[in-house]
């Protein structure tokens, strides 16, 4: 009974409309933000920052992007990798075109390019749904992958055929490039992800979020209350791709430091889709859970045998990863389609009535 809303009466609808109406939730989120912005930068090792936290945050943003489209609007997309790639390549071109511009502005601006491309590739969704739409987005994935490989202009004709991230500074602190410290990069990524998550939650709780979910749940009824399907779906594609594009740009500029076309192929699309499914379709917090789970699982699986002093071949570990992941995806699809986010809710519910069973 530590976690409960009893006695917390809302006296106005505006208070009831806030993100975290329950006091304990507000405290919880403040603690998490405090940890993320202050404690972690002070304590975490470079390895933890570069190989765990930065990628998890970036994947979370991509998962939020896909979740807006698939979880909230009900449009299945297999083009996530491509849309992330558009963001990354656009950011690279922008840094070459505007060498003096603020890099964070450029990373965010590259989202507009993937938003545009996403809206164009979303056009088939006006006619087709479900499986056929998934195939259409798959085609866009292949088309974009092909562009990344075959259009050398995108990488400024580098012989490596890869994006090579230049050094960019802000207030004389390197943000991108080889001299940027993991801590700086982590804080930039964290700020962008937290900010964009907040904006997404605003959208979802208002008119636009409701129109998306209405289209997902019953498009006929949505049309009859005056929702225009084509606008709603294209907006979902654009916003979703914006998020994926920013995630793609961050992935190259704030995490990997360099990237080839392969980083944005169909495997990437599936990886993000798995994160969304395991985390929970139609849940923002689930997107974080899914990303942390799928990125963290291999790390844990690698460390466990070492921890117990058992020697296991690296290849075996990799096989184990695939098997565990596959089994979990099937488990979630069958048993808990709302993913980890639902388990989280159930946990909270249990806490609310604790120590009574219900």
């Amino acid at each position: 009974m530590f976690y409960r809303e009893a006695g917390q009466f809302k006296t106005s609808y505006s208070a009831d409309e806030s993100v975290f109406p329950i006091l304990q939730d507000r405290i919880g989120i403040a603690v998490i933000l405090g940890l993320a912005f202050v404690v972690i930068p002070l304590t975490a090792t470079s390895f933890t920052l570069s190989s765990v936290l930065i990628p998890v945050l970036i994947f979370s943003l991509a998962a939020i992007g896909l979740n807006l489209l698939t979880g909230y609007t009900g449009l299945l997309s297999l083009g996530t990798g491509g849309f992330m790639g558009v963001g990354a390549y656009a950011c690279y071109k922008l840094t070459s075109l505007f060498p003096n511009a603020n890099i964070i502005v450029l990373i965010l601006a590259s989202g507009f390019f993937s938003a545009g491309i996403g809206a164009v590739f979303g056009l088939p969704s006006l006619r087709i749904k479900g499986f056929y739409l998934a195939v259409a987005t798959l085609a866009s994935q292949f088309f974009l992958s092909w562009c990344f490989v075959r259009v050398p202009w995108l990488v400024n004709y580098n012989v490596s055929n890869a994006i090579e991230v230049p050094t960019r500074t802000m207030f004389d602190i390197p943000i991108t490039g080889p001299n940027a410290t993991p801590m700086t990069r982590y804080l930039v990524v964290l700020s962008i992800v937290v900010g964009m998550t907040w904006l997404a939650s605003n959208l979802l709780r208002g008119r636009i979020g409701r129109t998306w979910m209405a289209v997902r749940d019953m498009d006929i009824a949505a049309e009859l209350i005056g929702i225009r399907l084509y606008r709603t779906k294209l907006l979902a594609f654009a916003v979703s791709s914006f998020y994926c594009g920013v995630a793609g740009a961050m992935m190259v500029f704030l995490w990997l430091g360099a990237a080839e076309a392969d980083s944005f192929n169909i495997n990437q699309s599936f990886l993000i889709l798995f994160m969304v499914i395991i985390g929970g379709l139609g849940s923002l917090i689930g997107s974080f859970f899914g990303a942390a789970f799928i990125w963290g699982l291999p790390i844990v699986l690698k460390m466990l045998p070492e921890f117990f002093g058992v020697k296991i071949h690296a290849a075996t570990v990799e096989h184990l990863q695939f098997m565990t992941l596959g089994a979990l995806i099937i488990f979630f699809l069958v048993v808990e389609p709302h993913g980890l986010a639902r388990l989280w809710q159930i946990g909270k519910q249990k806490l609310r009535v604790w120590p009574f069973p219900y």
């Binding site: 609808y13 409309e17 008119r207 979910m213 997902r216 949505a222 209350i225 225009r228």
Partner: protein, 267 residues
């Protein structure tokens, strides 16, 4: 609830909607054949008939979901043969469905709030910030929606996902969503189907209240003759897609063709 301000005003008692010689068929199946009738502002107009008579098809034509092969529809004096459903919504036509078409993954509150979509105008960037005017708009509409929730006596379930609600409550939420649109014409497709007596009484009360208090014109499809006779001002009877009678409940009740149709006499 306010009356919608768009379009020309129609005085109470004047024709709000007229259906002229409408025919609709699906391949070889004739769902509606050469049907004409009108709906006057402020009345409760029942559409009755045996199963498969074409009642639902008629509603689908009225709100632009189906386009009739022949005939015309005039609404508020404007005649059209083709109209998209969202245009009907703009014009002030709302409806509920025979087998409940709610947004199942959303809460009752969100379903009804969704009914206010057309009345909300803050653009994308305000929505992103959900601040100042955007929040004020959201709260203003929340007030209206809470009035509806109170009216329908569903306060206790506002935060429940509608997919988990029992059927009777789902029907109520669906009515709430339609009311949130503040329609000029409300189409109800069997709002009491599958309900027990008590639920039917509640629903009848809501329908009458909506009609009385807000002056909303209602077209109602219903199988329960008792309900139809009690609620409606005028009744149109369809059978096999053909209009066989039209008049006050008493006139219709004593019409021989209607009696035959309901008793299943061959013709």
């Amino acid at each position: 609830m306010r009356a919608p301000t768009s379009g020309p005003e129609v005085a109470a008692g004047d024709v709000l909607l007229s259906v002229e010689n409408v025919s609709l068929s699906f391949g070889g199946v004739k769902a509606v054949t050469d049907v004409s009738f009108d709906i006057r502002k402020g009345e409760i107009r029942a559409i009755i008939g045996p199963n498969g008579a074409g009642k639902t098809s008629m509603l689908n034509v009225i709100n632009g979901f189906y386009h009739p092969q022949k005939g015309r529809i005039s609404f508020k004096g404007k005649t059209r043969s083709k109209m998209r459903p969202h245009e009907a919504a703009h014009g002030g036509i709302a409806r509920t469905f025979q087998n409940v078409a709610l947004f199942r993954g959303m809460t009752a509150l969100d379903n009804i709030m969704a009914g206010r979509t057309l009345k909300m105008h803050r653009n994308f960037f305000w929505q992103l910030l959900r601040f100042g005017p955007a929040l004020a708009e959201e709260v203003e509409h929340r007030h209206r929606v809470e009035e509806i929730i109170e009216f329908l006596e569903i306060q206790a379930i506002r935060r429940v996902q509608v997919g988990r609600l029992p059927y009777g409550l789902q029907k109520r939420v669906e009515l709430g969503r339609a009311l949130a649109m503040e329609p000029e014409l409300l189409l109800l497709d069997e709002p009491m189907a599958g309900m027990n007596l008590e639920e039917k009484e509640d629903m009848s009360r809501f329908v009458l209240d909506v009609n009385n208090h807000y002056g909303t014109t209602i077209a109602l499809i219903e199988h329960d003759m008792g309900v139809v006779m009690d609620l409606s001002d005028r009744v149109v009877v369809l059978d096999h897609g053909i209009k066989i009678a039209d008049g006050t409940p008493d006139q219709v009740k004593s019409n021989q063709k209607v009696i035959d149709a309901y008793l299943g006499v061959a013709h």
